[in-house]
């Protein structure tokens, strides 16, 4: 499997729908989505709350399964993969940054990054060095030994970025990275996204932040579980 085949589709959604049952009501989070993202493309998804942006990200990342349709990531139909195979795939091929940071609370900033590398099968001294390099990239080298509870929201978000990059995945899925941050911290995140764009990775970001939308090669506008443009 060639992760970076130029011109090929890194992400492909075919007639993907996701519905939830809430009491007796059916909620359509995604409705017959057809979407392609080319390798190396930087795409943003915008739209009002409840439009289905996070569900889209979760389905592309294999965190959630579609009710209908097919999800292909790097040529693999992930909607059909078994749980453990999917976990291994996600570990090596997808970097995920959550809106609420979601660092493992019992591990320090550096250890959170090392943990992701260990899950991908890397061990030894070099993962510590690599973790420090990644923390330096996001400007947090001096906070390497702090636990998530000792970091601010912006710092946790930057550690989450470093963790997402730990295994150098070809795809990055980023959920509202600046939503919970103040303006000056948000600029730090935009700076990191600029760096990512230069690395020719396939990036899908859900956001309301115009600064991030401006960075994108393409912008998907979502509403009521559908992609409008």
């Amino acid at each position: 499997m060639d992760d970076q085949k130029p011109g090929g589709n890194a992400i492909e959604l075919i007639d993907v729908s996701k519905t939830y049952r809430v009491d007796d009501r059916t909620v359509n989070a995604l409705l017959e989505i057809n979407m392609e993202i080319s390798t190396g493309e930087f795409v943003t998804a915008t739209g009002p709350s409840g439009a289905g942006k996070t569900t889209l990200l979760n389905i592309v990342g294999g965190l959630d399964k579609p009710t209908e349709g097919e999800v292909r990531v790097l040529g693999l139909t992930i909607s059909e993969l078994e749980e453990d195979v999917l976990a291994a795939f996600r570990c090596r091929r997808i970097g995920y940054v959550f809106q609420s940071y979601n660092l493992v609370s019992t591990l320090t900033a550096a250890e959170n990054i090392e943990f992701a590398m260990e899950l991908a099968g890397s061990h030894g001294e070099n993962i510590t060095e690599k973790a420090m390099v990644l923390l330096e990239t996001v400007g947090l080298k001096e906070r390497a030994n702090h636990l998530p509870g000792q970091l601010s929201g912006g710092e946790q978000q930057r550690v989450a970025f470093a963790r997402a990059l730990a295994n150098d995945p070809p795809i990055l899925l980023i959920d509202e990275p600046t939503a919970n941050l103040d303006d000056s911290t948000a600029i730090e995140i935009v700076r990191i996204l600029c760096l990512l764009k230069g690395k020719a990775k396939t990036v899908l970001v859900t956001t309301h932040d115009r600064r991030i939308v401006r960075l994108a090669d393409r912008c998907l506008r979502m509403s009521n579980g559908k992609i409008e443009t």
Binding site: A88, R90, C91, F98, S100, V104, T106, E111, L147, L151
Partner: protein, 605 residues
């Protein structure tokens, strides 16, 4: 005022946590109710039943039942208090939100009513369960032929209900109240709240360990909540092992007391009427009571010449001629000077006893003694059986009056003879008191390599006497104790089940409190086996650091403080116990893994 409907909605939507707390309390209350009723109806009253179990032995059983009841309740309370702390941790944000939107006193009343509802439901379900179990057990025992003294289950249950409500309410509400009082709203709403605050504990030592081990060890040991989990696990394991080991030690010890009280390989020689009477008095569960023959009848005397002949036989290893008589022992009130005047110790209690005149140097029994046995110089001292202790207020100060003469009490022994209503005094003293001449009972130990029973029996019967092997009555008594123990073994079994269920429940809740971490790990690529490894390591650490020391502490308590002169279980029995405890702790790992799997079935964080 917060309306009840909000509280009920909150509880029902936190179904897992609510059910865990109610379940733990119900198990503890059910166990307590059952054990107290069981104890009152059966265990505490062995000496009042037709059986002739001495007060000392009955006391040991009763103490065991009492300890088991208290331990079950303590296990429940510890678990409940830990649940409560865990739940408080999970509710910090909710408390902060409630305060932020303008609730003040209402926050307190909200959690006060929640605590009341949990305490009420837990106590009611537990007590109903306990009552039902007691009735079913009573029916079962009656079918087996055991007598059960009737108790007033509803009065007992009412008292337990009030007790349970007060204690459980306090243990649920207090941590929440403390949290409400101390909590800064801004802190509660900060994203950092609820995150682990790890001190320096173990950081250096585990710095080189894998992240998976770090997660496991810090989850198990790292913060205040984890320490509480560890302490709870230590205490619960300690209590559980006390029940398991304690039950076996008590069973073995009681049997050992009886063996020592009757003696192994001891034969009784007496007139057939006396044999029937003596054996009947030694039996714990006689089919019918044999009235005392006229013990002063000279026809029951064993000729001194025959006793001397026995003493000269090389195969006789021990010879213990006795004079037995039925007498009344009176408590003698004692006047003790005190600074302001005097104090009267004792009352006018009395008891029918079997008095045995013995030569202290010949006695073949090896009773468990408190104090000392009489010696050759003790003209005015005696040793009492354990049931007689109930009659005397204070054996260290008081006297007993026998046939008008005062005697000091040198000691007390656990005596299976005559249900523990016995006194032992010097042969000559009893001879002088009663006027009986020759011994009417002889106990003898034989070297069976030098003679055969049939040869020896021939020599005995030629003197119009009967030979009776006391091993058979010892076996019957030990068999009876086994049956009693079997009926009591429901206690450790029940405690193990309750303790195990509470531990499992507790583990599940602890794991659920960290569900977000597990979901994050899975989202960043952890496979099921990775999560399983973390959970297993975490449980292993908790077991090694909390449960194993707890089990060892329980063992030390049982062997050092539970009972006088304990008989330790065999290596095989201990091995079985250890396997049993290992199964309980292995079940914890399985449950933890199951819950983690269930919680991470949907990874969306």
């Amino acid at each position: 005022m917060v309306t009840l409907s909000y509280i009920l909605k909150d509880l029902s939507r936190r179904r897992f946590q609510t059910l865990s707390a109610i379940g733990a309390l119900a198990l503890a209350m059910g166990g307590l109710t059952f054990l107290v009723l069981y104890g009152l109806g059966l265990g505490f009253n062995y000496s009042k039943l037709p059986w002739r179990v001495s007060v000392g032995l009955n006391y040991i059983f009763a103490v065991f039942i009492l300890i088991a009841s208290i331990l079950v309740f303590l296990i429940g309370l510890i678990a409940l208090s830990s649940f409560s702390s865990l739940l408080t941790g999970l509710r910090v944000r909710d408390i902060g939100i409630m305060k932020a939107i303008g609730l003040a006193e209402e926050v307190n009343s909200f959690f006060l009513f929640e605590s009341l509802i949990i305490a009420f439901l837990g106590c009611v379900i537990g007590i109903v369960g306990g009552l039902l179990s007691f009735y079913l057990t009573t029916v079962f025992f009656r079918i087996l032929g055991f007598s059960v003294i009737s108790v007033q289950p509803f009065s007992v249950a009412s008292v337990l209900f009030i007790l349970g409500m007060v204690i459980s309410f306090i243990s649920i509400y207090l941590p929440l109240h403390r949290s409400i009082m101390k909590l800064q709203t801004s802190n509660a709403l900060s994203p950092q709240t609820m995150k682990l605050r790890l001190g320096n504990l173990g950081r250096r030592s585990i710095a080189r360990a894998s992240p998976a081990f770090k997660i496991a060890s810090r989850s198990a040991l790292g913060d205040k909540g984890s320490s509480r989990t560890l302490i709870s696990l230590f205490l619960i394991s300690c209590l559980l092992s006390t029940i398991i080991f304690g039950g076996q030690i008590i069973s073995g010890t009681v049997q050992n007391y009886v063996e020592r009280g009757i003696g192994e390989g001891v034969f009784l020689i007496a007139h057939k009427d006396i044999v029937a009477y003596y054996v009947n008095r030694l039996s714990f569960n006689p089919l019918e009571d044999v009235a005392a023959p006229n013990l002063s009848n000279p026809g029951y005397n064993i000729p001194v010449g025959f006793v001397d002949w026995l003493r000269s036989q090389p195969y006789v290893k021990g010879l213990d001629p006795r004079l037995i008589a039925e007498l009344t022992a009176y408590e003698v009130k004692l006047v003790t000077p005190v600074p302001d005047g005097y104090m009267i110790v004792g009352d006018d209690r009395r008891a029918q006893v079997l008095a045995l005149g013995v030569n202290p140097g010949d006695v073949l029994n090896d009773w468990v003694l408190s104090g000392r046995f009489i010696n050759e110089g003790d003209e005015s001292a005696l040793v009492v059986g354990d049931s007689l202790l109930d009659v005397v207020y204070d054996i260290s100060q008081e006297h007993l009056k026998i046939l008008g003469r005062d005697f000091d009490i040198a000691g007390a022994c656990v005596d299976p003879l005559n249900g523990g209503y016995t006194i032992y005094l010097k042969y000559e003293t009893l001879q002088a008191l009663t006027g009986f001449e020759d011994p009417n009972v002889v106990l003898v130990k034989l070297d069976l390599e030098k003679t055969s029973i049939s040869d020896f029996e021939g020599s005995v019967t030629r003197n119009n006497l009967e030979l009776y092997d006391l091993t058979s009555v010892l076996d019957k008594d030990l068999g009876f104790l086994q049956d009693v123990w079997l009926s009591l073994s429901t206690l450790p079994s029940l405690t193990i089940i309750i303790g195990g269920l509470i531990l499992i429940n507790f583990t599940a809740l602890s794991v659920s409190a960290r569900s977000n971490d597990f979901k994050v790990m899975k989202a960043v690529g952890a496979k099921r086996k990775d999560l399983r490894g973390i959970v297993m390591t975490q449980t292993f650490l908790l077991v090694v650091l909390g449960a194993v020391p707890g089990v060892m502490a329980g063992w030390v308590f049982c062997t050092s403080f539970l009972v006088l002169s304990p008989s330790l279980p065999s290596v095989l029995t201990i091995a079985i116990d250890v396997v049993l405890l290992a199964i309980i702790f292995a079940a914890l790992s399985v449950v933890s893994v199951y819950y983690v799997r269930r919680m991470t079935a949907h990874v969306v964080t």
